[in-house]
Amino acid sequence: MSEAVTALNGARYEGIATIAEAPLGGMVTLRGDLSGADLGAAVQEAAGVAVPGRRGVVAEGPRTALWMAPDELLLLMPYAEAPETAAGINAALAGRFALAVDVSDARARFHVSGPRAREVLAKLSPVDFAAGVFAPGEVRRTRAAQAAAAVWMSGEEEFSLICFRSVARYVFDLLSMAAAPGGEVGAFD
């Protein structure tokens, strides 16, 4: 376990926004009936968060639940806790039509932060990132140029973007280019 590393070893770029690869985090994909009370209880018990509504995010410290699809959540927690979280949910929902899987190693996560973070993201994703339109509590599954991505706000001026691990370099390069000095757009000023 000690030999686990992220795809880019914590790569970082400072431009008109800061791009930083996040440390390893735990991720559990949960498929099931999100409206079910038993699922909600299992998530609360094992992952420590409530089930978010459509396109929503619920965050409790390092624990976050992201709504990914009408029957799918992505749960975030410390890396070491993912296997037991998945196992806990599966045990609680044994016999039901639900499935939790540890996918902690399948993705890369980036933090895009700073006052120009919205502009940097708006160069790559067909999403309305205007303040007041895209706010904390919302997650968007979209694309970063040609790669699948999901984006949500994980701080006042900080966005989190996740993509598959294999395209981590591609996405990091994209974000860095979009954040290169001189690329200020001024659309959200």
């Binding site: 795809a7 039509f97 067909p126 140029a145 040609q146 294999s166 290169a180």
Partner: protein, 1003 residues
């Protein structure tokens, strides 16, 4: 000749000089100049050569519609051809070169075409080069290719960066003239999210030049106040230097921002493509002036009247000391007045109308300018520059009544609203006979997803040409738009606009109206493509009645300016020749972009290293550091082989094969698709996906399976492992993971939505390594932690645990025929795990091997490869895989397809092995000819090679092939065509070349 005036110039800053070169010679201009105004100020009236006849050409316009003044800009990695001088802002160090002239702009040998011009009429190429056919390829085409084209292509990779930007708004206004500003103000005040685009660097459009007064003061004061107010609104985004390029379905609009063109030293993206979703689009794109068709209207010095006053008022450039104005409307009188007030001579205004008694003509007369009504230009004297015009009666045939010496001609044939953006997405036009123009028909607007119009017009773009009417039009249309999106428009009166009242124009499509063929052959319609009135008439005479056909036959409007000046004049000429009304002839189709945009802006960030996503496994950097020769597999890069110093690729592959067969090979198999299928109905689902009966698999076991599409064609294969009672892990091909995942979801979501199955793509969760060869078990035992003995972990079984400290799943499967394990560990630990294997394997002769060694070894064993043995037309039975198809299952995807007559025919080509008699390696894809010809007169064939390699294990070439009734023909010899060689004979054999009993993997 043209020169800079001593005073004036509202856009230039005389304190800021700008140095530039044109064709290598040094010039100077001011900040605020365009390249065109600076060149004109420097006396340059000859700026280019026409496309077909290489005629000398000067500036006609002052903006985006300019057809002639195209130059090559920049040098080396920043060179770009076909840039309009009129829209190029001047900067220090600008380098421009003229185009389409050789050896020089002043002395162009291509101009000999002039003498032969009458032999190059419309359709010349079609007529001339049809016969004899062989001459086309060897004589005509090379000649035309050499003489055609405008600028030359850049030779270096573009040094700049480009980007996209996604924007969203309620109201997008294109055009920053007074109508656009008013529309944006109204929308902004109503609280809507507004984006306002203006293609130039300046707000306000033509009004300041035309002397319009707003709210009692000069237009400029109102414009500045409007921009300031808009700038202060949080809900409004102002974007100068950004052109509305194209309008598409669902309110999607492309904006083309030239961020860095005017300041290449700045470290900014050169262009930015705005990809805007707007609930409503307002086109306030103004209008373009039309030339008049008189003989010699292309001689340098003949310009649009509006352009002449733009150069005088905006940039303090005199196009000539003596300018004759020729017009069919009142607006051109403004040019005469502007010239007069700049202290320049206007010898005469030739007005084609019988009378001119409006406010502006009377002002001209009051300024002592001679006004001749009912007159026109019969011809223009001068070759490289205007020296005089011959005056004639517009009603006559062109007899010259008088010659007037002059060095510039300002012409105006009326105005055409810029309807391009309105038309891009289906907006229709109506003919306004009073103003002789096509204008948007508000009753036939482009409609959005809800059936409501999503485009409206404002100002001159609506056909409201006079400034006061433009303002009123903008205000009224904007109110309707705001109402349509549920916004309350502020109850404010529009600003009061004062503009001279203009009398109606008289349509003039030919000057003089009775001009004969000799004059018509000198009247240019399309300057860039050299199309004249005579060409369009010839097209009509030869039966081209549709405007779209005439366009293509004559190339009218097909140049880089897309006929901005020529379209209306051209179709009016056509309608006259056809004796039809203009609306009956109609217009050609307006297509995006409005003016050309750079290819690089379209590509955006997608170039160089991020041209497309490149997928890397967790071990990618290790491979890179250890000599990997890369092979693209889908978007992945996989090592083809690992070359050692001095080793050829071929040698490396052979070494890797031999080492794996004799000692130990390591393969990064992380790219394999790994899809988890789980749920109460997983067994039922999995039995539909695979051709075999997978549901009988016991937890802890693996089985090879095939997936077919509904037609029975084989589309993927791989090993399926049963994880537990209700879960399976399906391995797919490297390139197939996403496709198969989507395929599964498709069936679950669209067809079998009530089946309780979840599918999760775990491809990227795991790094996977194949440990292959006689020493494979030794290595895993050395790592320790999992019992991998033959008894505990037999062939086609799997187990999980901790292997050498790594959380691991170990699958005992083989794609090489050797003793082999595939081990999956969390991707984050993949690199460490791989390095541990390399290090611990040293004593066992471990070497990494690449995809080519994998291919050779699987071919030696007769294993098929999706994409080699299959091509979307192959069913499993063709490959001898009948054993993997369940005969007991009631149904599976592809079952019905396989039962069709053509699929069960004994005449299908089937998989066999081939051994060349001479031991050589057959080329991939080689065909074996058969007797006779097919229905198309082509030689019949009886088979083709699907996989072919040199087998280092066997020391000879081996191949797999699909051969007509192949398995029935064992031992037969057939010949394969090899380019440049005599056909190669090969014996049909079983496809398994090595260890047919499978003893090596079962130890």
């Amino acid at each position: 000749m043209s020169t800079r005036l001593a005073t004036g110039g509202r856009l230039i800053d005389r304190s800021a000089r700008r140095r530039f070169t044109f064709d290598g010679r040094a010039h100077e201009g001011y900040a605020g100049d365009t390249l065109a105004s600076a060149l004109l100020a420097g006396g340059h009236t000859l700026l280019g050569r026409s496309f077909k006849y290489h005629r000398p050409r000067g500036l006609v316009a002052s903006g985006a519609e300019e057809p002639n003044a195209l130059v090559g800009l920049g040098a080396g990695a920043r060179f770009e051809p076909n840039q309009r001088a009129t829209t190029t802002e001047l900067f220090d160090g600008l380098q421009a070169v003229s185009q389409n002239a050789w050896p020089s702009l002043d002395w162009d040998v291509g101009v000999v075409n002039n003498a032969f011009a009458r032999f190059l009429p419309a359709g010349f190429y079609y007529k001339m080069f049809m016969h004899p056919r062989p001459l086309w390829k060897h004589l005509f085409e090379p000649f035309i290719r050499r003489s055609a084209g405008l600028g030359r292509a850049p030779s270096e990779r573009d040094a700049d960066r480009y980007e996209h930007f996604y924007a969203f708004c309620d109201v997008l206004v294109v055009g920053g003239g007074i109508a656009g500003l008013q529309a944006a103000l109204a929308a902004g005040r109503a609280g809507a999210r507004v984006i306002l685009l203006e293609q130039t660097a300046h707000w306000g459009g033509r009004s300041p030049v035309d002397g319009v007064r707003i709210d009692g003061g000069p237009a400029e004061a109102w414009i500045n106040a409007a921009v300031q107010e808009l700038d202060g609104m949080e809900n409004v985004t102002l974007r100068p230097r950004t052109m509305g390029a194209g309008v598409y379905d669902h309110g999607y609009v492309l904006g083309y921002e030239r961020v860095g063109d005017h300041d290449p030293a700045a470290e900014v993206p050169r262009h930015r493509l705005w990809r805007i979703r707007a609930a409503r689009l307002i086109t306030a794109t103004g209008a373009l002036e039309r030339p008049l068709s008189f003989a010699g209207n292309d001689v340098p010095g003949v310009m649009l009247a509006s352009a002449v006053r733009d150069y005088v008022v905006n940039w303090a450039v005199s196009p000539g000391d003596r300018t004759v104005v020729v017009t069919n409307n009142d607006d051109a009188y403004r040019t005469a007045l502007a010239l007069k007030s700049a202290g320049l001579e206007v010898p005469a205004i030739l007005d084609a109308r019988p009378r001119a008694e409006g406010e502006l003509p009377e002002m001209a007369r009051a300024h002592g300018i001679r006004v001749e009504t009912g007159k026109g230009v019969a011809k223009v004297r001068g070759g490289r520059h205007v020296t005089a015009v011959g005056v004639c009666a517009q009603a006559g045939e062109g007899a010259v009544l008088e010659e007037i010496a002059c060095d510039a001609v300002a012409m105006s044939g009326g105005w055409s609203p810029v309807v391009h953006l309105w038309s891009h997405c289906g907006g229709k036009l109506e003919w306004d006979a009073a103003q002789a123009l096509f204008r948007p028909d508000p009753d036939r607007a482009p409609t959005g997803h809800d059936g409501h119009p999503f485009v409206a017009t404002a100002g001159a773009a609506s056909g409201a040409l006079q400034a006061d009417r433009a303002m009123a039009d903008a205000d009224e249309n904007m109110k309707n738009v705001l109402q349509g999106i549920g916004r309350k428009s502020p109850s404010r009166k529009p600003p009061k606009v004062e503009s001279a009242e203009e009398a109606p124009l008289a349509p003039v499509w030919q000057m003089p109206q009775g001009a004969g063929p000799a004059l018509r052959a000198k009247m240019w319609l399309d300057y860039q493509n050299d199309v004249k009135v005579s060409d369009v008439r010839l097209a009509a005479q030869e039966g081209y009645e549709s405007v779209e056909h005439t366009k293509r036959y004559t190339t009218l409007g097909m140049a880089t300016d897309q006929g901005k000046l020529s379209n209306i004049n051209g179709l009016a000429t056509l309608s006259q020749a056809l004796h039809e009304e203009i609306p009956q002839v109609g217009t050609t189709t307006f297509r995006p972009p409005y003016t050309p945009i750079s290819m690089a802006a379209i590509a955006g960030e997608a170039r160089g290293p991020v041209f497309q996503p490149l997928r890397r496994t967790p071990m990618h950097e290790w491979h890179e550091a250890n000599g990997a020769d890369w092979e693209p597999v889908g978007q992945w890069r996989r090592p083809y082989c690992y070359r050692r110093a001095g080793e050829s690729r071929r040698d490396a592959v052979h070494r890797e094969v031999r080492n794996t067969r004799n000692a130990l090979g390591l393969l990064d198999a992380s790219t394999l698709g790994k899809i988890m299928v789980s749920g109460p109905d997983a067994e039922r689902f999995i039995d539909m996906l695979y051709t075999g009966k997978m549901s009988t698999l016991k937890p802890g076991k693996c089985r090879y399976g095939l997936m077919c599409d509904e037609n029975g064609f084989l589309m993927d294969d791989g090993v399926c492992a049963r994880l537990d009672e209700r879960s399976f892990l399906c391995h797919t091909t490297s390139g197939g993971a996403e496709r198969i995942h989507g395929w599964m979801e498709d069936w679950l979501q669209c067809e079998w939505w009530d089946w309780q199955v979840h599918v999760v793509n775990l491809t990227e969760q795991f790094a996977q390594v194949a440990v292959v060869g006689p020493n494979a078990r030794n290595l895993l035992e050395r790592l320790g932690g999992i019992d991998v003995s033959k008894e505990t972990l037999p062939f086609m079984a799997w187990t999980e645990g901790t292997l050498g400290g790594f959380r691991a799943r170990v699958f005992r499967i083989s794609f090489s025929g050797e003793l082999s394990f595939e081990i999956a560990v969390p991707a984050s630990e993949g690199r460490a795990f791989w390095e541990r294997l390399v290090e611990a394997g040293e004593g066992f002769g471990a070497m990494p091997y690449g995809t080519e060694a994998l291919h050779v070894m699987r071919a030696e064993k007769g294993f098929i490869m999706i994409g080699d043995e299959t091509d979307g037309t192959i069913i499993p039975q063709d490959l001898g895989l009948d054993w993997a198809i369940s005969k007991k299952k009631e149904d599976f995807l592809g079952k019905r397809g396989m039962e069709r007559v053509n699929m069960t025919s004994p005449d299908r080509w089937k998989l066999v092995g081939l051994e060349t008699l001479d031991g050589s390696v057959l080329p991939d894809g080689a065909h074996a000819p058969a007797e006779g010809l097919n229905a198309n007169g082509q030689r019949n064939t009886q088979g083709r090679v699907t996989s072919t390699y040199y087998s280092p294990t066997l020391g000879r070439g081996i191949a797999m092939a699909l051969v007509h009734r192949g398995p029935e023909r064992m031992g037969e010899t057939i010949a394969f065509n090899v380019p440049g060689r005599t056909p190669v004979k090969a014996k049909i054999v079983e496809p398994v070349f090595y260890d047919p009993k499978g003893e090596r993997q079962n130890v």
